[in-house]
Symmetry: D2
Subunit: 341 residues, 4 copies
């Protein structure tokens, strides 16, 4: 039996990446896709790289029977679009940030608006299989992690769970430009972001509480503080999260590597590396590379997580969650190697 998938907002980068992956997925099939601005046009014509969907017409609404819906709408718009499907018993994966923060007060504080469907928050599972695989398997509503949190949490989780670091954390993250999305006016003109690095939303990005929430759940009684600073760098895809946490006690580099290896044992997409990882080694794939380094001189753990913001940071992760929710093999459709060089 083939899983029938609908994508809401296939015309954004995350939505079109999910469609790209589904092109060669052995157990799932894209049967409907929405995208208001291009409704009525054929998906394979509008986006030449999706040419195998020559006959799929982009709709204003999901107009076919589906087993799973992936919503790639912008944050705040997504919950409203997901709610009817959730209520109808359809499995839903929200790639936006609408169901990630469990506390509606936090949502309001960071998003500047009340949560559009607070009654659904309780059933939402945070879709990071390395932390919540079993819960995802039986979930009906999954909140797909943000691209920055995915890299940051995977870099820090083993250390926080083992209690080897103080919970005063700095996350300095670098993102490719596609993280800013497709419908972005003149702000991301090639000529202005090329040959440039800049920070934005310093310590006030809504991914900050998302990281803090998930790290808090790893160690009882701990409320980590996270200072999160995102940066744009001139590449299309890739997240490089460099995380800093003071070590509670002396620990050796090999001990930390072993701790990390144990933590990710059995997780097919997250690997611990012994040399600094390159974002390019994840390009176009669902992989995450994690690299912990003990700075003995200063008693600091430096933990790096890298991934493709549209892969493990968005659409790849969503397909992995879909596989788990639908009883498919976890890696189905996701075994493509990164594109290198």
């Amino acid at each position: 039996m083939t899983v029938r998938v609908g994508i809401i907002n296939v015309t954004g980068y995350a939505g079109m990446e999910a469609a790209r992956i589904l092109q060669t997925h052995p157990g799932a099939r894209l049967v409907a896709a929405t995208g208001r601005s291009l409704a009525g046009q054929r998906l394979g014509e509008v986006f030449p790289h999706l040419s195998s969907f020559e006959d799929l017409v982009i709709g204003a609404e999901i107009d076919a029977e589906v087993d799973v819906v992936l919503s790639a709408l912008p944050t705040a718009a997504s919950a409203a679009a997901c709610a009817p499907f959730v209520r109808a018993g359809v499995k839903v994966i929200d790639i936006a940030a609408d169901f990630r923060l469990r506390d509606p007060g936090e949502f309001a504080a960071w998003m500047g608006a009340d949560h559009p469907a607070p009654e659904l928050l309780e059933m939402a599972v945070y879709g990071l299989p390395e932390l919540h695989r079993e819960a995802i398997r039986s979930a009906q509503l999954v909140a797909n992690p943000g691209c920055y949190p995915a890299a940051s949490i995977l870099a820090l989780a083993p250390a926080v769970a083992a209690g080897i670091v103080e919970p005063r954390i700095v996350v300095d993250a670098k993102s490719g430009i596609s993280g800013a999305g497709r419908g972005t006016g003149g702000g991301y003109n090639f000529s202005e972001v090329n040959e440039d690095v800049s920070a934005y939303k310093i310590a006030r990005h809504n991914h900050q509480p998302e990281i803090a929430q998930e790290l808090a759940a790893l160690a009882e009684g701990v409320r980590p503080t996270v200072t999160f600073v995102p940066h744009l760098v001139p590449m299309t895809r890739g997240i490089h999260a460099t995380c800093y946490a003071p070590l509670r006690k002396a620990v050796s580099q090999p001990e930390v590597v072993e701790l990390y290896r144990d933590f990710y044992d059995g997780h097919p997409f997250t690997r611990v590396t012994e040399t600094p990882p390159h974002t390019k080694h994840t390009l176009g794939s669902n992989r995450c590379l994690v690299h912990p380094v003990v700075d003995e001189r200063n008693g600091m753990l430096v933990a790096i997580g890298v991934l493709d913001n549209l892969g493990k940071g968005a659409a790849g992760q969503a397909i992995q969650n879909m596989n788990l929710m639908c009883g498919l093999p976890e890696t189905a459709g996701l075994d493509g190697a990164p594109l290198y060089p």
Copy 2:
């Protein structure tokens, strides 16, 4: 039955791209790979994107029984490495330029050295399936096309074959930097090729006679002249060949498009587009996009071909040839969509 593949020089860009494709090929398996500088190391460790080859040790020689050998050695070194396999009855695909020019005199004139194995030239088939699919099926030795010629010939072939253009041709080609190869001293430092375009080997690149030879074979009695100018542009992958040929007679844009569509009918990787194609729409794939334009004002045909120089321009093409030579489906292992954006 699974085809057993050996790659000579897996450490170059074309060789590693062939390995990348084989990772998910349903009917073939990489069983041996050479690469002198890294001999003795594990392929999956040296190149993190090839991590599924964790246990494959790079050898000094092909040290397993193989059904097909792909040679990705530099031009001039490749023929000598291929010859023993050819003589032993193994199928061989040479990704270098050693067996492309049928005339050893031409080889000597353009390469500045005698051909290292002229006795094998006669059996070599030029590995462009859009022109020679049946011959490739039964070939034992295939000369894989150069990246520039692949794009240029596919852009021009329908027009030349139909006799609608004069054979005085200009090919202005733009290539990503990976076309220059991996072992390239200081010449391709990021800081110097970034934010730069330059031409090189103006009208004296050995791809010029390769293009001329294949176009000549398309129309009896015609000896096309080709002025070929390659350029480096600051991107990793991609070839954009813009070809100019005077029209012999008035022909309309729709007529030319139809002519091209007919020519490529049944060829799964080459598509005719109605708008100017983007190299990015072929990134990481085996696709070639072709776009002919009639410049009525000047009686000129402008024909564009774009592809990924490591895909349809090298390793993807080689796997397509391997599929044909080994009786596998032509598209096996090659159905991945381009990476976009």
Copy 3:
């Protein structure tokens, strides 16, 4: 005496580059600048790289007395803005395309609209000092060349003027993305033009007749045909025009180089190179590098011109014209070296 300069549309790339150059110009001073969307704001605050203009308020109109006006409005809007200044006796340099084509019929044919001020066309001088220096000195209205034509005409002029080539010309040009301008919606998103090459307006760009017009003026009785194909490449600045023209008779490489050197003798910004020039060797400067190559095998001249599209291709050229029109040294303010690497 210091020349007082006004810039119309300082908020576009060409306008802001003119302001950048004026920051250190020894004989001219920016006294007024317009830019509707940012009117009322200080130039040095809006654009941090122009911080020496901290006190210059962007106006809706030129609101100070000026000796020269540079208009960097988009083509078609520019003529209307320039006309009142021309009529008032102010010197005007139009960086847009409005006064370049001498024939209003050509303008209408290529722009799709009637010329907004045809009565001024006769007094306009084409602002390429290498061809028209004396006329520019005494001109009141100068039509600054387009970025593509500047590179193409400078590459071809010596050969056309000497009559050594047939007038059936192909110009294949590659441009950095800033050539598309600043106010450009979502079409030039980094994520989509990065790692991409594509052609556009194939043989129907309005720079095609501009090139043809200026080449025609170089040789009596000759009406050159020009097939012009522009391409976008992923860099911010730079034009690389590769031009092809059949040779009328055998001519040697040294003869052609000497011919070119003689032609540009005494022109401070245009140099003839003996190796293929790099756009990066002109970055941020007013330089043009020209490189002719004789393709003896095919009887073809390949002539390359490279420049910075915002320098010699727009604002730098405009300042050079301003210097000539105002009796300043031709190189004043323009002696900065290219930025390399």
Copy 4:
């Protein structure tokens, strides 16, 4: 009187940038330059962007009388080359790291070799005018700051000097590829660093003690710890240092901005910004932009410094130091605006 300048190793990026600046310096003149690999060739021919040095022959040694020597040799080789000039009474600016660490033990610990001229360490002044302007004016030997330290120290100095932060500091720095230098084998191939971010020398780069040393000198009795992690990002020039330091007490954003503004008052090249600065706003210039942000939620100061690694991070800074040492105006030759876009 014109200052006569010699550059040792003009063929590296820092050396050639110093030459580039000297091309238009009103009070100094490049009279000699060395560069072993290219000795005997003319500087203006080898590097087309330095064409005004057409007649300057690159020597094996400084072969003219000079008032100042700039050494741009790699670290460890530089001291030996500088020493004879220092002993001969010539003013010397060392762009390498050889004279930056005041403690020869620290030098040995971080460089892995004994200091080649420890007797000169005492007379060396750290060449950051914002901290040591008067000492530089009378120095004979100046240790030009590293590119990362220049950005990091300028970002942190006002806060450390005012005692508002704890001295447990994290510096997360991002650099363009030119920081890796010019003679760099195959490690910085465009194809491999393009579309990639990676960290290197995590907490073991020799710029870490350099930052710590200069911060320590700002506040008596404080020994700051610095965890320094450098990253390579795919651009040619630019440093973005993001620095994190715990606040000792509540302080408001406006208070911090005022503190920073006061600190840099009278320093022509360092500006405090109110929005996150872009490296591109310093491209090709000697500017440094500093941006402090109070993260009230977590009691953290985030302080950003951006500059051009070859400008204020190397050659521009060296010229500024030369101006001070030679009694020239501090900004002479350095008033060029950044290149934007």
